[in-house]
């Protein structure tokens, strides 16, 4: 994997582009899209030959700066994302913030993703320089290439090389994704001596150990096998995403819908926990569907955990402990 990135970047170097003493440094904020697509974008810039700095794991300083520099009405993950952008402000020349409007046919993302580059620029009072790639698959893939052209212009690289780098990065991303699903692939809960719990939620919530109050780690420490949407393949999730099988308007939602109903069918799944940031619009719908379906059809215990700015973990732990007591 890594070697192929290295060889690929060498190829570009040998073409003679972007060799300069002071290459601009690209910052990659570790929030939102990062948890699913970091490989794609990191590879993209590295193949083009630019140094990439990823922000640190979320910590209190990042959270505090995010809250200070973001508008008040957004959800916590968006605020935290701003904290990550802020932390890269003085370390990098450009901060990469993609504009995900639609990443599949008929599917749109959360409105905050659609306006993320603008939001960051406004909230940080234009003190940062942003590079963006537009992804609007439903409407027009041409928009993506236009934005790549703009990146090529800003960074002073050849447009054709940029397109090639993007395509190679996408291949790498898919390779890695397949590798992950091969390793983690869920079929059914096998180890019956251990309890099995599935943790659902947006990747930028459940895999960010600060936002999730280390939920996955805490469960594993109690000798519980943890399953997340990552353990399921795209097809299975899509197939089970009642009531939106085959078509979900909100991409982020159907991952969780599909996972919930796939895991609920497993008799050996002891419980399902949904971790949701306060005021998430997508989750408001998704969780309602999950709760109703669970009540009518499945007997799996379900816990909805809401997180916000709290750093006191007592209330969070109480709910998790009580849930584990309940599932026995």
């Amino acid at each position: 994997m890594l070697t192929s990135v290295a060889t690929a970047s060498k190829v570009v170097y040998n073409k003679g582009c972007c060799i300069s003493e002071n290459l601009p440094v690209i910052g990659l904020p570790k929030g939102l899209f990062y948890y699913e697509h970091s490989i794609l974008w990191e590879s993209f810039f590295k193949i083009l030959g630019f140094p990439v700095i990823t922000s640190e794991d979320t910590n209190k300083e990042i959270l505090d700066n995010g809250i200070i520099h973001c508008s008040n009405e957004t959800c916590l993950p968006v605020k935290v994302f701003h904290g990550h952008v802020y932390s890269l402000k003085d370390k990098t020349d450009y901060i990469f913030i993609p504009r995900y409007t639609s990443i599949d046919k008929n599917e749109y993302t959360c409105p905050k993703f659609c306006g993320l580059p603008d939001m960051a620029l406004l909230n940080l009072k234009n003190k940062i320089k942003v590079l963006e790639v537009k992804l609007h698959i439903d409407k027009d893939t041409g928009l993506t290439f236009e934005s790549l052209k703009e990146i090529a212009r800003i960074l002073g690289v050849n447009y054709q090389d940029t397109i090639e780098a993007f395509q190679t990065a996408i291949e790498l991303f898919h390779e890695k994704k397949q590798e992950i699903s091969r390793v983690n692939c869920y079929n059914q809960v096998r180890d019956l001596k251990k309890r099995a719990v599935s943790v659902l939620g947006h990747p930028y919530v459940i895999y960010d150990s600060y936002l999730s109050m280390k939920l996955i780690k805490k469960l594993k420490e109690k000798d519980i096998d943890v399953y997340t949407p990552l353990n399921l393949d795209h097809k299975t999730k899509r197939h089970n995403a009642y009531p939106y099988q085959g078509k979900a308007f909100w991409e982020v939602g159907f991952e969780n819908l599909g996972s919930a109903f796939t895991y609920a069918q497993d008799k050996n799944m002891n419980g399902i926990i949904y971790l949701s940031p306060f005021a998430c619009g997508v989750d408001a719908f998704i969780i309602e569907f999950i709760e109703r379906q669970f009540k009518d059809r499945y007997k799996v215990p379900f816990l909805k955990l809401t997180i916000d700015e709290h750093t006191g973990e007592a209330g969070f732990d109480t709910r998790v402990e009580a849930f584990l007591d309940m599932i026995g």
Binding site: E56, N59, K60, E61, I62, Y210, K214, F278, E291, R292, K295, P301, F302, K304, T306, D308, H310, T311, A314, G315, D317, T318, R319, E321, A322, F323, D325, M326
Partner: protein
Amino acid sequence: MKEKGYFLGIDVGSVSTNLVITDEDDNMIERLYLKTSGHPINVLCNGMRIISEKFGKDIIVKAVGTTGSGRQLASVIVGADVVKNEITAHAVAAQSLVPGVNTILEIGGQDSKIIILKNGVVTDFAMNTVCAAGTGSFLDRQASRLEIPIEEFGGYALRSSSSVRIAGRCAVFAESDMIHKQQTGHNVEDIINGLCEALVRNYLNNLAKGKDIEEPVVFQGGVAANIGIVAAFERALDKKIIIPKHHAVMGAYGAALLAKEKISRNNTITNFYGFEAAKSNYKAKSWECHGCPNLCEVIEILSDSQTLARWGDRCGKWSQLTTAV
């Protein structure tokens, strides 16, 4: 003959700290309901002193259980055998006093919960989410704003003759709505009744949404003392609400039962430090750790300048230093 033993249950909550002593037959022989008043350690030590003065040396504590949001803190100070979350503790207590209970409504100082049981097993529960609107501390605040003792607050609601609608979603909205209604001339009884109905409506919409509330229904926690809220629940659910005699100390009672169960099952000796330990001088201090950008707020519990426990650090660097208490 086996010597007679007693069990101590402690519930350190946000508003009240409760201590309960039970005997081998699960009878509650002593209960203390003390206001936490922001000083959980002092109040807990004070409670321990009251019990030891009353019972002296006659009492052999065989096991101790702690619960409530201050359960870790209490456990460090008294030496607990069981440290249990308040949902499990409340469920155990209600089942013991009301066998066959199917629904438990619980409203405390900062938390409200609903617990659903089927055949004696907890099958579902919910707790209020990020905000504490509609719990005991909010009622306390409104009572003191209206200069009505909290004990009489519920009685006012029962004397209401016409209903006034108060916004119930958020405590801040509720308070401004109450003030607006009061300024337009509604009388205090009707406003208080409106508030009770708003809180019950909010509770049922938030916590009980989609859950089957089946009888017997038990209502416990400090707020169960408020007859206005009880009446509003009965009206909204159209069901009989059972209030256990010891409704305010159910968490502590549950903790005592859990402690007894654990000690008898494992046949072990208690970790209890004894009532004497409560006479030491406990102090808690906190500081911000600057080891990394997380800036954790570390808390240290000291007994006569000796460190008993530390917590609050995400990486475990401080808490691990004192795991051997």
